[in-house]
Symmetry: C2
Subunit: 206 residues, 2 copies
DNA sequence: AGGTATGCCATACGCTGTAAGGTGTCAAGC
DNA sequence: GCTTGACACCTTACAGCGTATGGCATACCT
């Protein structure tokens, strides 16, 4: 029974699945190899090393992002793309952190160019395009990153309880209020928060 | 010649200095111990483990941030604090990444509360305070994080040269323009970019 | 002087990424 | 049919990591 041979493609796909399932920090060469029914060193015939695997799966993730379409209304098209990016990073929370540490990948450059092009087409002069791009990119990455490390709602409840015990409400009234907004959140901390700030930036740029 | 004994304080201070000098990823228990003229296991009599060291030094860094003062003009006081936070994180680029992975520390909670209080004092209703806080916090962390992983200017020049060679300018005209803005940057990508988006958010909230 | 607490060290375990070299299988050429 | 060589995978080993366990010397209190 000959097993299907390895390939860069298969290695990266499996690595991505493993990162999604167990978290990126639990992804090791040995475990990835085991998942593929193979020993660790065999992977090195298809990828240069772990770094290449990491940048490889980041690129796969970035490729899932819907690029701002050319031609249409700049605000709406950028909005759609930003929300798509946020959704993609929410599906793969580890990717957001990796984008920062791995170098700029082809998919990243393509995204950057599309976003910049949309701004220019929207009539922004170079200077404002420059700043607008940074505002948007930093919001997409920063906010999502922040959200990805936010405790899951069950943990949050426990954490909030701890806090309210250790730090009496009367000393930190505003923080207590904020925490309650998170816990009892009408619309949990989800899409809407991201979009609120996104619109703030888009309207501000306009 | 009795050496000065270890202490939690001394361990954390040295860890911080080492992180500043070599980068957080090069900070190991063995190296930290060596720096203190001691073996690795001796550290465990003063801190519970590496995680506690990490959250400890993050807390030290967060403590350096100037809190929004109570009473004054909300916009100006938040602006000052945000810029202070940005400056602090620029001094300790590793800290920004760690804030996300270590749990909320006392200094973090204090900062959150002050920021929230300033917004409330500025007349914001609970809902807008909630969103405004996230917009500001996410910008401070996200933007600074992004900036911290940005290639140093000498590397940037090399990277930009690589890019302009591999990806012909005519295929990615907007990206090429953006890169040139970074390289030849009138005011490099420094304080001004951070403040531009900060003001965008502050004005938007207002 | 004896007991005990304190502060540090030595050893060891299981984990990591990966360099170097070995082994088995299979296709092409004579 | 046999040899040759390429290819895919494996074995072993090394240096490093965080840390559990237990030992030892000093210093203080009774």
């Amino acid at each position: 029974m000959p097993r299907t041979p390895l390939s860069r493609e298969r290695v990266l796909r499996t690595a991505m699945a493993l990162a999604d399932a167990d978290g990126i920090e639990r992804l090791s060469m040995r475990k990835l190899a085991g998942e593929l029914g193979v020993e660790a060193m065999s992977l090195y015939h298809h990828v240069a090393g772990k770094d290449e695997i990491l940048s490889g799966i980041v690129d796969l993730v970035l490729g899932e992002i819907e690029l701002p379409a050319s031609g249409a209304d700049w605000k709406e098209t950028i909005r759609r793309s930003a929300i798509s990016a946020h959704a993609v990073f929410s599906r793969h929370p580890w990717a957001c952190r990796l984008v920062l540490t791995t170098g700029p990948s082809p998919a990243r450059l393509r995204f950057m160019d599309s976003l910049l092009a949309s701004l220019r087409e929207g009539g922004f002069p170079p200077g404002l395009t420059y700043h607008g791009y940074h505002a948007l990119d930093s919001h997409i990455m920063g906010f999502t990153l922040w959200q990805g490390n936010f405790p899951a709602s069950e943990d949050l409840a426990a954490l909030a309880a701890d806090f309210l015990r250790d730090f009496p409400t009367e000393d930190y009234p505003d923080l207590a209020e904020h925490i309650e907004q998170h816990v009892g959140g009408s619309g949990h901390q989800g899409e809407s928060d991201f979009e609120f700030v996104l619109d703030l930036i888009l309207d501000g740029l306009e």
